[in-house]
Structures are given as structure tokens and as C-alpha cells.
């Protein structure tokens, strides 16, 4: 908060002395860069001092703590070196035909604008939109028909009388679509006009690439504290984690809000994907992660930073909680499945990174409990406090990085998110594991 106050007072100061906006921005950036580098030095120093002075380096948890820190710190240089490799100039005629597939259930408020941003995309090739109305009970169908009356044949509508689930809806779209590239867009996501063009260019630049994740940020980011926190969470998960995974062409999740697949990648998989079972039941959530998983077995998957879109995120904590729980369940399920093949045919660092990252939600809570228990046993509350400080420091460093490098907003609320994470969200994991067989439709 100190930092925020400082930036704000600087802003008023510059306004008073009539300094241009860009000069103000440069100054605040320089300031934040210094803060970023100092924090980085602090964190590394803290880790080095702790490790060298720890008397119990032999303990598994100390070792795990060091591995986790190394992994997390290495994300920054990786994300910094990530390259959006599709910069060649292509002729308009080279661009493939695209089918945008949108599954919608009770989305009357957003679906028209979603279709608008898709159809109005600045795309040189052929483009069609397929909307699957998955048994909506509100005016979704009317809204889609209104869009059809404006844009005509570019939009097709499939209607399910009864709700069948997002996976069925997506599969129906895939079966109908005949174009060369399929783009999945959520019914509450809005594409940047250049989004589809950038995302398809990856397929032109590298024939090994089977799927591309777009760069989705938060539309309603300034609605309240919760959406502010989610906006920084999205920024870090895309511009740090996905960018890192993309360096070795091994992105593990192309989010449903905006991602693209080759036709020849997805058509052979679709039946298997639709009927996929885990622990004896059909998976009904985390469809995007599971689809990416199928593709990742035999194709490269990358992240396209330039392919931008925005999406609406939950504004109520209860809804956010449920969404996070679903994500965690699909993380467990798909993580286990991906773990079966991630070790072969990949850059060793990509595999290693995957397994370390995958261990987080399992070992993370245990590590936290361990530190807490040790803190109580040795009667030194400071130990747990130091652990939490380290955790918040990493969060702050990530948020400063995405702010400085990718212009992400709301980095200032990151410490609050870190606290929320370590005190509440981390404990979803055991619950998610116990209830993994229960599933519900939808993203909210």
C-alpha cells in the first residue's frame, strides 16, 4: 500500500508540474523496476541464507522447498525469453478457413457481443461461427437469432432441447464444422479484432503445432477487489506460466475462453474425448484441459501472446470458489493423465517443470502444514511468518514482472491475493481430491 500511495502522490506531483503522461509512466516504471530487482535480490538472498544456515538440509521438506523456489524463480527468465514465433509476413490467401465454436447456456447478456467480436474480426480468410445453444432457458436463442439477422450465414445455430453439458455441445460444434482451423471461444469472452489472425499464424509458421492458446485477460477487472485479484491471477497464469510452458511447446491447457486447434488434430480425437472416463465416470468439467491433453500426446502446443481476448470473471466469492474448485479437480484429473506421457519425447526441463508444477497442489498444503507444525513445535511463530513472507514475496515479484513486462494492471492487490491463496484457496485441494467424482456443468 505504501508503494501505491507513493505512485499516486508522484502522479499528482507530475500533474501539478505539468509533466507529460509518458514521462510520468517512465519514471514510475523505473521506480518499480528498482523495486522489482531489489525484491528479486531479497528473495534469492533469503533463500541462500536460509539454505546455508539450515541445520536440517537432509529433511525432505527443506529440499522440496528449495526445489520449489528454484522452479518458481526460474519462471521469470523463461517468461522473459518467451518468443511469440509467428512474425513472418503471410499472403492473405494463405490464411486457412476458420470455424469459431461457441457453446452457450443461459448467456443472453453477453452472447451477442461475443458473436459481434468474432464476426467483426480482422481476418483475411474465410470465417464462420457455430453457436451451440445447450438447452438455455433464457433469451439466448433470441439473441443469437438477432445476430444471425445482422450477419446472416456467417453464424450457424445448433439448439439442444435439453441441457447436455458443455463437452457434448463442443463436440456437436466440432462435428458440424468443416473449416481448417477450429477456434473455441466462451460465450462470455470477447476477441480482439486481430486475435484470430495471430492465433492462426502459428499453424502457418510451424506444421508441428496442433493447438494454440490465446491470451485471455479479465474484462470486468475493475468491478471489485475480487475481479482485480483475478485479473492479476490471469496475467500471471498466462504471461508467466503459459509463456514458460510455451518455450518448450508444451502448454498443458488451452483455455476454453480462447484457443485454436487444427482440424486434422481434433477430428480424430473428438469421439474419444467425448466419451472419456476418469475413475469410472464421465468428466463433465475441465473439458479444455482434457482436450489439450489429447492433443499434447502427438502435437506441439504453444501460447500466443498477441492473440488477445477478454472474459468475464466471477464477481461473487461463492461463484469464484466453485470455479476454482472445478479447476482444481480438472487439474488433478488431467495432471495425472498428462503425467503418464509428459516424461517422454520432450525437453527434459519441460518434463521436470511439469512434474514439479504438478506436485504443488498436492505437496503445497502438506508443506504449509509442515512449516506450521514445526513453527508450533519449536514455539517460534516467526518461522511460519517467514514462510508466508517468502510466499508473498514470490507473488509480488511475479506481479511486478507482468506489470513491467506486459503492462498488467492491479499488481498492487497481489499480496492480498497471496494471503487469500495461502489461507483459503490452498485448502481446496484436499477437498477437491475427495470430491473429484462429483461434477457440474458450466463456468459459473
Amino acid at each position: 500500500m505504501n508503494l501505491m500511495a507513493r505512485t499516486v502522490s508522484l502522479a499528482t506531483f507530475y500533474r501539478r508540474i505539468k509533466v507529460s503522461e509518458s514521462f510520468y509512466r517512465k519514471t514510475s516504471d523505473a521506480l518499480l523496476l528498482v523495486v522489482f530487482l531489489s525484491l528479486l535480490v531479497c528473495l534469492v538472498l533469503y533463500k541462500v541464507v536460509l539454505v546455508t544456515s539450515a541445520s536440517t538440509f537432509s529433511s525432505f521438506w527443506t529440499l522440496y522447498g528449495v526445489i520449489v523456489s528454484l522452479f518458481l524463480l526460474s519462471r521469470i527468465p523463461y517468461a522473459y525469453l518467451y518468443n511469440d514465433d509467428h512474425d513472418a509476413v503471410y499472403k492473405d490467401s494463405e490464411y486457412p478457413s476458420v470455424s469459431v465454436i461457441i457453446a452457450a447456456k443461459n448467456e443472453e447478456s453477453g452472447i451477442y457481443r461475443t458473436l459481434e467480436t468474432c464476426v467483426d474480426s480482422n481476418y483475411p480468410g474465410a470465417l464462420e461461427c457455430i453457436v451451440i445453444n445447450d438447452g438455455s432457458t433464457d433469451g439466448t436463442e433470441a439473441e443469437v437469432k438477432r445476430a444471425i439477422s445482422t450477419y446472416g450465414k456467417k453464424i450457424q445455430l445448433i439448439t439442444f432441447e435439453k441441457n447436455k453439458g458443455k463437452k457434448e455441445a463442443m463436440a456437436a460444434g466440432v462435428l458440424l464444422a468443416q473449416n481448417e482451423v477450429f477456434v473455441f471461444v466462451d460465450s462470455d469472452s470477447y476477441l480482439h479484432p486481430e486475435g484470430i489472425r495471430h492465433i492462426t499464424e502459428h499453424f502457418l509458421s510451424d506444421p508441428k503445432i496442433g493447438a494454440v492458446s490465446g491470451n485471455t485477460k479479465v474484462e470486468n477487472k475493475n468491478a471489485n477487489l475480487l475481479t482485480r485479484m483475478q485479473s492479476i491471477q490471469y496475467a500471471i497464469s498466462f504471461d508467466v506460466y503459459k509463456a514458460c510452458e510455451s518455450v518448450y511447446h508444451s502448454v498443458t491447457c488451452c483455455p476454453g475462453c480462447f484457443s485454436a486447434y487444427r482440424r486434422e488434430t481434433i477430428k480424430p480425437l473428438i469421439e474419444e474425448w467425448k466419451s472419456q472416463e476418469f475413475l469410472g465416470i464421465k468428466g463433465t468439467f475441465g473439458d479444455d484441459r482434457s482436450l489439450t491433453n489429447f492433443v499434447l500426446r502427438s502435437w506441439d502446443v504453444v501460447y500466443c501472446e498477441k492473440a488477445r481476448a477478454t472474459t468475464i470473471v466471477p464477481e461473487k466469492f461463492r461463484v469464484y470458489w466453485k470455479q476454482q474448485l472445478r479447476w482444481k479437480k480438472s487439474w488433478i484429473r488431467e495432471g495425472v493423465l498428462a503425467g503418464l506421457f509428459m516424461w517422454k519425447g520432450r525437453h527434459p526441463l519441460a518434463s521436470l517443470g511439469f512434474y514439479i508444477h504438478f506436485s504443488f497442489p498436492f505437496l503445497g498444503p502438506v508443506l504449509a502444514l509442515n512449516v506450521l507444525a514445526f513453527s508450533i513445535k519449536s514455539e517460534n511463530p516467526l518461522i511460519f511468518l517467514i514462510f508466508c513472507t517468502g510466499f508473498m514475496l514470490i507473488g509480488l515479484i511475479f506481479s511486478l514482472f507482468v506489470h513491467l513486462y506486459r503492462r498488467a494492471e492491479n499488481f498492487i492487490v497481489m499480496p492480498i491475493f497471496s494471503m487469500l491463496f495461502v489461507s483459503v484457496l490452498i485448502w481446496q485441494m484436499p477437498y477437491a481430491m475427495l470430491t473429484i467424482r462429483k461434477g457440474h456443468w458450466g463456468t459459473r
Binding site: S55, P77, L382
Partner: protein, 503 residues
């Protein structure tokens, strides 16, 4: 920015970080240590209840009470530990009552006659070398101007057990100059397998059973145990440069000796203790928070059986009571109580059996668990005094008056039954009769006994008959008291008592 450029920037930043970390490493390490040692803040205000006049006009003490602690904990399981809150209360009580801490080394010098004790000395000791003997304690000692002694079982820092202070941390402990670090053996607290069933015994007192080679030979046992003494000393020498001369006997008396599978183990350990150390410490008897014997140590106390009070989580009031009860004072007891004088029964120490005081009589009786009873006056430092008592044996088989009581193995005892009387001296558990058993001249169960001890010579007058006169005894000092023995249960009543110093 191009990839090439970004790589250069990255290398630059990495170099910067490495340089900064290298530069800040030493101050960072120091900061962590400071944070560690100052995470328990405490401050004391000396003007809280202490009067300068109380501290003045005090004489040099003749004995030192020794306190023994394990861990001082903020929360968690207590067991033999002390809560920090209570520890602070205890230490502030010591400060308020005018106690001054001395080191074990200073006590050793006092025994040699080259150190003068302060009026109210106390030794504070911690066993085992745990982290919670230091981090939660040092701040309090520092603020109160106290010092303490810590006994290290050296295999703990050798094995980097996180519950115990590491050698690096012990170096910091040493640097404070408040702490004296002494020996507590090496593996001395370990358990070992003693038979084919896997039964456990203690490292120092049991011969190890090995499935392949059977029971350890006496030679191997002696070698191993001797090595533990030598290694404990050597570790302290090697890591801290300390030449340790004092030994806290592990597990208070080498562990539960009943568990031992070798009956000469205890004797062998005692021999080694005498061989390697100048002083050794054991625990004073207590039972259900009641301290049963003195933990004051005199100039001539057994150097290898120095008594410590295990304080645990006593209240400060209980600790103060125990310190007062056993503190050396001149022989001066009057019963029945004269108005305005102290009630002697409040200072009476009940070793075993029952003891009840009323305004007119003191009753010592056997209990459900004990066919004998013994209660003491005095602090075991008494030397020259006279005792005059009116004692009723009643139906009890045997009544006794103990004249010098150091411990159960060192005492002077007058005992009589219906027909006869004897006066015995017991030195290191060996009885010698000063007066052999002789027939009584009276049938009266109520008798007047008077005894005088002066300059190592004893005289006893029993019911008007001179039993012995100016006979030399070898026990040098001790408390006075009464006892009863009857397998079927019985009691002895004291209806009047007068003990006066003859200094």
C-alpha cells in the same frame, strides 16, 4: 525487444543478482540470527516490588540451591518443561527475593575456599542442550543480569537434531558470556536393545544384545561406556574449546537402574564419573509437586551427588516456599508454639509416612504405603545444637529420633522399642553402633530425651539415664527429626520440643 537483446539483459540481471547476494550474504546471515534470537522479547522493571533495604546486611551464604530445567515453552506439551510465563514469574521472584546466580565453576571454587558466596546464591541449570532452553530463556537472563549452566548431550548437535542447539548455535551461546556449557555425555540418553525379545535398556547402564553376537561382554560394555564419557568431553573440547569438569548425571541417576541387565553398571558409572569429573549433579527427591529433600549444597556435600530441584512448572510461590523451607538457618525450634514465634511444624519435612501437627502435639505415623515414617526439622547444615523432646511411643513397635540426617545413607539414629534402645551411626550405608542395643530401665512409653552434639561429639540422656557422653561421630552435620516403624501401623507423638544452637 529482440530475443538476442533480452538474453543480454537477462545475463546482466543475473550477474547483478549474484553480485548483490554475494555482497549481502554476511549481513543477511547475521540478520537471520538476530531475528532468531530476538523473537522472544521481554523486559523487566526492577522497581517492581524490590526494596533496597532488604538486600543489605546479609551474610555470606553457606549453601547453594540448584535449580534444574529442561525446556521453557511458549505453548505445547509441558511434561518436564516450564511455561515461559511461569519461568518469567520464577526468575522475577528470584530477583525480587535478592537471589544472585553463580556458575557451577564458582560453586567449585567456593568448595575449595577461593570464592565467597553472595548472601543468596542460586545456580540455574538446563539439561540436554535444547533450543528451547536458550532462545526462550536468554533474553530473560540478560535483562535480569542472571547466568545459567547448560549440559549438552553431544550426539544431538553431532546429528544436527533440529530440536537441539547446533554447534554453531552453541558458539553463539558461548559468546553471550552468560552461559556455562558443561558435559551430559554423548549417547547417554539413548535406548539400547538388551535381550532377544527386543526389550530396551539405557545406553550407560545396560549391556547391548545383538542378534548375531549375543550379549555384549563386560569388557566391551565398559569400553563403550567409558568412550561415551570421553567423547562427551572431547566433543565439547573440539567444537567449543571447552574443558568440561562438571557432569549432569544423565537421566538423573543414569536412567532407571532397575531396567539394567548388569548389576555392576551403576557402580561402574559412578566410578567413571569420579574419574572424569570434579562435580556431578543428580535430582532431589520430589513427589506430586512436593519437594521432599533439600537441594541446597554445602561446602562438604558429596561432590558426585549434588542435589538439584527439578522446577518443572512450579508456581513462583511454590518455588519460593521450597527455597525458604530448605534454606540454612540456625537450630531454633520451640514447640508448643510460643505466641509470636514461628510455627516449627511449617518447616517440618515429611520424607515418608504421615505427619500431622496440632497446637499441642506433632504426630508421626505410618501410612497405607509405608510401614515407616520420618519427618525432619532443619536444613541438614546443623552442626552444634541441643535437642530436648517429650516423646510418646504408644503402641508403635519402634520409635526413633534422628540426630544428624544428611541422607538415608548418612545419619545418626537413636531408636528404641518396648524393651531396648540403641544409638547407631550410618556412613555411606554402613551401620556402626555407638551404643549397642541395651535394655530399657523404664516401662513408661512417654519419655524425655535430650541430646547434645558439639564439635563432632555426641551426648544422649534418655529418660534421665546417660546413654553416651562426648562420643565422637563421623557424620559432619545434618537435620534432626523423628520416626516410627511398625509393620502393623503405629504412631509416635511429640508433645514438647526444644532445639537450640550451641554455637
Amino acid at each position: 525487444m529482440s530475443l538476442q537483446k533480452r538474453k543480454l539483459v537477462l545475463i546482466g540481471v543475473l550477474a547483478l543478482i549474484v553480485c548483490m547476494v554475494a555482497l549481502l550474504f554476511t549481513p543477511g546471515t547475521r540478520l537471520l540470527k538476530t531475528v532468531n534470537s530476538h523473537s522472544y522479547q521481554y523486559s523487566y522493571f526492577p522497581w517492581r516490588g524490590i526494596k533496597a533495604s532488604e538486600v543489605q546486611n546479609r551474610q555470606e551464604a553457606v549453601a547453594v540451591p540448584i535449580l534444574m530445567y529442561h525446556g521453557v515453552r511458549v505453548k505445547g506439551e509441558l511434561g518436564t518443561n516450564t511455561t515461559r510465563e511461569n519461568f518469567i514469574k520464577q526468575m522475577e521472584m528470584l530477583k525480587r527475593e535478592g537471589y544472585e546466580t553463580i556458575s557451577v565453576h564458582e560453586y567449585d571454587l567456593f568448595r575449595e575456599g577461593t570464592f565467597i558466596l553472595p548472601p543468596k546464591p542460586v545456580i540455574i541449570t538446563f539439561d540436554d542442550g535444547r533450543k528451547d532452553s536458550y532462545y526462550t530463556v536468554d533474553e530473560i537472563l540478560r535483562k535480569l543480569g542472571f547466568k545459567a549452566t547448560i549440559f549438552i548431550a553431544t550426539n544431538k548437535p553431532n546429528e544436527n537434531d533440529p530440536f537441539f542447539l547446533s554447534w554453531d548455535e552453541l558458539k553463539d551461546v558461548q559468546k553471550t558470556k552468560r552461559w556455562e556449557i558443561e558435559a551430559h555425555g554423548q549417547h547417554s540418553h539413548d535406548e539400547v536393545v538388551v535381550d532377544e525379545k527386543g526389550l530396551k535398556g539405557r545406553y550407560l547402564t545396560s549391556r547391548i544384545f545383538d542378534q548375531a553376537t549375543g550379549l555384549e561382554s563386560v569388557d566391551d560394555f565398559e569400553k563403550r561406556v567409558r568412550l561415551d564419557y570421553e567423547n562427551g568431553i572431547k566433543d565439547l573440547q573440539d567444537h567449543l574449546g571447552i574443558n568440561s569438569r562438571y557432569y549432569a548425571v544423565p537421566l538423573n541417576d543414569y536412567g532407571n537402574v532397575e531396567d539394567s541387565n548388569y548389576d555392576k553398571a551403576l557402580g561402574f558409572n559412578k566410578e567413571l564419573t569420579k574419574q572424569y569429573f570434579r562435580l556431578a549433579f543428580i535430582e532431589a527427591l520430589d513427589e506430586n509437586r512436593r519437594v521432599l529433600e533439600t537441594f541446597y549444597n554445602y561446602k562438604d556435600s558429596d561432590p558426585f551427588g549434588l542435589k538439584r530441584l527439578e522446577v518443572k512448572n512450579m508456581t513462583d510461590e511454590d518455588l519460593k516456599f521450597a527455597l525458604n523451607k530448605y534454606s540454612p538457618r540456625k537450630p531454633d525450634v520451640v514447640f508448643p508454639v510460643v505466641q509470636g514465634e514461628d510455627d516449627p511444624s511449617s518447616n517440618m519435612q515429611q520424607l515418608y509416612g504421615n505427619f500431622v501437627a496440632s497446637p499441642t502435639e506433632l504426630v508421626i505415623s505410618t501410612s497405607a504405603t509405608s510401614t515407616a515414617a520420618r519427618a525432619l526439622f532443619g536444613d541438614r547444615g546443623w552442626q552444634n545444637y541441643t535437642l530436648q523432646a517429650q516423646v510418646t511411643r504408644g503402641d508403635a513397635r519402634e520409635a526413633s529420633i534422628v540426630l544428624y540426617y544428611l541422607d538415608e545413607d548418612n545419619l545418626v539414629l537413636l531408636d528404641w522399642d518396648e524393651h531396648s534402645i540403641q544409638l547407631t551411626e550410618r556412613i555411606d550405608g554402613q551401620n556402626t553402633n555407638i551404643v549397642d542395643r541395651t535394655p530399657l530401665t523404664t516401662n513408661d512409653s512417654n519419655v524425655l530425651v535430650s541430646a547434645t552434639i558439639k564439635d563432632g561429639k555426641i551426648s544422649v540422656l534418655f529418660d534421665g539415664v546417660q546413654l553416651v557422653s562426648d562420643h565422637t561421630i563421623h557424620v559432619s552435620r545434618g537435620a534432626a527429626g523423628f520416626g516410627v516403624w511398625d509393620p502393623n501401623g503405629g504412631e509416635v507423638k511429640v508433645t514438647s520440643l526444644l532445639i537450640k544452637s550451641t554455637e
